[in-house]
Amino acid sequence: MDIQIIVDLCLLTLLTVTAVILLRVQNLLAAVLLSGIYSLLTAGLFVTLDAVDVAFTEASVGAGLTTVLLLGALAITGREQSVKRHSRILPIAVITITAAALIYGTLDMPKFADPNAPIHTHVAPRYIEQSGEEIGVPNIVTSVLASYRGYDTLGEVTVVFTAAIGVMLLLGGRKLKNKDNDE
């Protein structure tokens, strides 16, 4: 068997196992750590797809920082999930219908790795063939993110900025300013 298939199978199996355990644990500390593991496995999958930039981001943001920040949030809120006993029929119905709709939607999509898929025939050839002359940066991902799609990246940075403003307004304002007269 091809080594890549073996690696993919291992990663996907671990991913499924992690997801199932993640659903079943009541301890939120375990849930946070498991979601970090889930991110790390996803990063591994991105590497096998040759998307190193995405893998890099997933590993550092998803597995690294998000875990730390969620642990910080847990220190405020508490570690155990409150168990609620009510009917599970409605959630299962909603999930089944949504999943069926999504799977139905994928039927029209081009096959995985189809070279004639629209995503490979629209702007991608131009990025691959001409970004060397137009941008002059060896890493095509960087030239797409920073130059061709500069607006999008500006929007992303604005989202990150907004997140910080939100956290500071909700939790930070009073306590960060009044250092001396804490209750």
Binding site: N139, A146, V157, A163, L171
Partner: protein
Amino acid sequence: MMNKKRGLILREVCNLIVPAVLLYALYVQFHGDYGPGGGFQAGVIFAAAVILYALVHGREQVEKVFPPNVIRYFVSIGLLLYAGVGVVSIFMGGNFLDYNVLAHDALHGQHLGILLIELGVGITVAAVMIIIFYVLDKFSE
């Protein structure tokens, strides 16, 4: 929760790792044109090093180097640097975020523009992550 005195080994290993991680963040930041990486990853790695140090040695130690009141400004400085590059390219005769006009020839302009906006991304992301950690840590006391 995060400010207790930690063990000797943890502290020493942290002291060993943090400078290397900070240096690696700078490498990812300024080598993003040539290898994988860029502002987002570099900012996150930088913040991770700072947060690691804060977790081991206590937030007060880190706040001496990165005071919250200063970091707060860097949250917007990065974004302003990014948008500022766009505005400057308008004044130099191009479109918003069109780096071709920033230097005497198009390729140099692209290099300069990408370097500056990646720096802006890095500054904002690092500052945001550090400030969110500060806020959460302070709130949990």
